[in-house]
């Protein structure tokens, strides 16, 4: 078992899959010799060369179009969109083309591709380089949506995404790139559509995603140590497919649900989970559902403002203590 950073796990997963399958190719801006603006793809250009690790112009539609056209004709491309905010300039290819091709053609086309992107706040980059946009992808039929919280999950889920025959949007939370974690040695392939229970507690179930997972874990330790509240923490990991079996089971056990979402308030993934809970396990609840989100604002840049808007461990503790006996 090796200790890797979240960014090293990205490169490890891509390398693992490129070694086993010649059809896996990788394209994006600055991904080659530069190793990626977040240094998440260091070493790939050297090992696999410019034909398989291709630098592109600043042309997001061309990047995703190339991914789609090559995927439907036999390659398994991984495309990097440097910041998830930039998905807005190529959203046609994602939402209208890639997601719909199989269904619209009566099943004639396959789209085995991965779109990797650096998502989320915490880096003081301002509102056009910090958005948490996984819900944009979640609401489009035909896209799988993954957002890992740890280096081991990055490696295992990215490998699974590359092997998956459907298009996968892979959201890497950019503030997590430097974090370290143990990753099993050898080939690692996880399973898409599976949530993970990271902590067991009888009083409240906290459901979190990506960068909110370590914050939820920190809050759970604090709740236990300072307030005698024991929290279960579920890492959603995959928004589509959504592991409702695990999520609903863990909520039913405690009777209380708190979602922790980095996205702005409206239409966050937590709203969908709250809706499913209300439909299916309403009578298991012992109190109102609490959604902890960023306010419905464009994310501000200054550290003081950004820290005050994104859900923090302190805010999670406070909301739970105030609302749950």
């Amino acid at each position: 078992m090796a200790e890797l950073t979240y960014r090293e796990a990205v490169a490890e997963a891509i390398a693992q899959e490129m070694r086993r399958d010649e059809d896996v190719v990788f394209l994006g801006e600055d991904i080659g010799a530069a190793g990626g603006v977040f240094k998440a793809t260091v070493g790939l250009f050297k090992e696999f060369g410019p034909e398989r690790v291709r630098d592109t112009p600043i042309s997001e539609q061309a990047i995703l179009g190339a991914a789609m056209g090559s995927a439907m004709t036999g390659l398994k491309p991984i495309a990097e969109i440097m910041f998830s905010d930039f998905l807005a300039v190529c959203w046609d290819i994602v939402a209208n083309e890639i997601a719909k091709a199989r269904y619209m053609t009566g099943g004639q086309m396959s789209m085995p591709l991965v779109i990797r992107t650096a998502n989320g706040g915490g880096s003081r980059f301002g509102a056009q380089h910090s958005q948490s946009v996984e819900n944009w992808a979640m609401m489009i039929p035909g896209l799988k949506v993954v957002a890992p919280s740890s280096p081991a999950d990055v490696k295992g889920l990215l490998a699974a995404a590359i092997r998956d025959p459907d298009p996968v949007m892979f959201f890497e939370q950019k503030s997590l790139y430097p974090i370290k974690g143990f990753v099993p040695d050898g080939e690692l392939v996880d399973e898409l559509g599976t949530a993970k229970v990271l902590r067991d507690g009888g009083d409240v179930t906290i459901v979190a995603l990506a960068a909110m997972v370590p914050r939820a874990m920190k809050a759970a330790e604090e709740l236990s140590a300072q307030h005698g509240i024991e929290a279960t923490v579920v890492d959603v990991r995959s928004l589509v497919p959504l592991d409702t079996q695990t999520i609903l089971r863990e909520i039913s056990k405690t009777g209380r649900l708190v979602t922790v979402e980095e996205n702005p308030r409206l239409c966050g993934w937590g709203a969908e989970i709250a809706s499913i809970v209300a439909d299916e396990i309403f009578w298991d609840l012992d109190g109102p559902i609490i959604r902890i989100t960023t306010p419905h604002i464009p994310l501000p840049a200054a550290d003081a403002l950004e820290d005050a808007t994104m859900p923090s461990a302190e805010r999670i503790v406070r909301e739970i203590v105030e609302n749950i006996d």
């Binding site: 190719v25 034909e51 291709r54 592109t56 112009p57 042309s59 997001e60 539609q61 061309a62 990047i63 995703l64 179009g65 190339a66 991914a67 789609m68 056209g69 090559s70 995927a71 439907m72 004709t73 036999g74 390659l75 491309p77 046609d92 290819i93 209208n96 083309e97 091709a101 199989r102 269904y103 619209m104 053609t105 009566g106 099943g107 004639q108 086309m109 396959s110 085995p112 039929p141 035909g142 998956d164 025959p165 459907d166 559509g193 589509v240 497919p241 959504l242 592991d243 409702t244 079996q245 499913i276």
Partner: protein, 370 residues
């Protein structure tokens, strides 16, 4: 690199030999015609077999599009449809020059390109009518005709989207060294959207085997293209920006289209990169079924009807000594096929409702949760 020109030579050789063999098989049935054809082949690079293939393709498109219009008037074609009446020569010329395993991409005005690749008439008409026999089982409609088995890799209804996608297919051909070409058809209006420029630039930089074909029918939907474009030739005058030669041709002359396609495909297969070809043409009907085309100046349609690619090619065949009964016989044969396809489509039931819940995912299903 040395192997690429050889691969091209091999393809040419095999195309020639298959043309010869088809002549032989027809010779048994109609010895009179072959005698005349020999004369024309001696004087011309295209030859009778290819000319008749082009003629058949022109007729198939013309008759199917006219039938689509008739079926619309009978309220049997639902939704919208964008006819390519008048633009048949672009589709026929390029498709006839393509190898079977080449890939083509087109827009919502794509009935002609899909038919030209060999998709069945009932597949096209059935899809327009929302029937089970449709190419897409009724799930795509007129604007998304696709037949992967024929290399018709989709009709794309968002302007510009398919240029980068066609480029991606060309990347596969380059990466796997298959010798295939990706061909992308689009209208003049597409030259003013960003994806056009992104795809042209990246294809040129990567030297991809992709051929971009602009069907300039003078109108972006309802507006004259010249009123909204900074250059005279919307595609041709942009070519220099991507280090490509300006190629503007008569898109209503099937022979000229065919020859231009051959040249561009040879360049692509030789690893020399993309081409951008502007075909001057005209759509005889409005933009879509909702549009009578009243914005066109008086006399414009009439002037273009004189350059109608179908009667023009009928004359061309006669000039090259092809017997009138062969020319007319093929016309009647194709019309009978369209009649048959119409009946098949009318008899085909609506798609089963079970189709709603299939084919979002590779496993055949639509589940987004467990």
């Amino acid at each position: 690199m040395a192997t690429k020109p050889k691969a091209v030579a091999k393809r040419k050789a095999s195309a020639t030999s298959s043309a010869k063999s088809s002549v032989k098989s027809r010779a048994k049935a109609a010895p009179k015609r072959v005698a005349k054809a020999k004369v024309s082949r001696a004087n011309d690079d295209i030859g009778e077999d290819t000319r008749l293939a082009l003629w058949r393709s022109l007729l198939e498109i013309r008759h199917v599009e006219q039938r689509a219009y008739d079926l619309f008037l009978q309220n049997l074609v639902k939704g919208t449809s964008h006819l390519a009446l008048g633009q048949e020569a672009v589709a026929a010329g390029f498709a006839t020059a393509m190898q079977k395993d080449d890939w083509s991409f087109c827009t919502y005005r794509g009935h002609h390109h899909t038919l030209a690749r060999g998709a069945s008439m009932e597949g096209v008409l059935g899809e327009l009518m929302g029937r089970e026999c449709g190419l897409l089982k009724g799930k795509g409609g007129s604007m998304h005709l696709t037949s992967v088995e024929h290399g018709a890799m989709g009709s794309y209804a968002i302007i510009g989207a398919h240029l980068p996608i066609a480029m991606g297919a060309a990347w596969t051909a380059q990466y796997k060294k298959t010798g295939q070409v990706s061909v992308c058809f689009f209208g003049d209006g597409t030259t003013n959207i960003g994806a056009f420029h992104e795809a042209l630039n990246m294809s040129a930089v990567w030297k991809l085997p992709v051929v971009f074909v602009c069907e300039n029918n003078l109108y972006m939907e309802y507006t004259p293209i010249k009123d909204v474009t900074a250059v005279h030739n919307p595609a041709g005058d942009r070519a220099a920006s991507y280090g490509l030669p300006k190629i503007v041709i008569d898109g209503n002359d099937a022979d000229e289209v065919y020859r231009t396609a051959q040249t561009a495909f040879a360049k692509a297969r030789a690893g020399e990169g993309p081409s951008l070809i502007e075909c001057l043409t005209y759509r005889h009907s409005g933009h879509s079924r909702a549009d009578p085309g009243d914005y066109r100046p008086p006399g414009e349609l009439e002037a273009w009807l004189k350059k109608d690619p179908v009667p023009r090619y009928r004359e061309r065949l006669a000039e090259f000594g092809i017997a009138q009964d062969v020319i007319d016989g093929m016309d009647a044969e194709v019309l009978a096929q369209v009649d048959e396809a119409t009946e098949i489509s009318k008899a085909s039931p609506p798609p089963g409702l079970d189709l709603i819940d299939v084919d979002v995912w590779a496993d055949g299903g639509t589940a987004w949760r467990n």
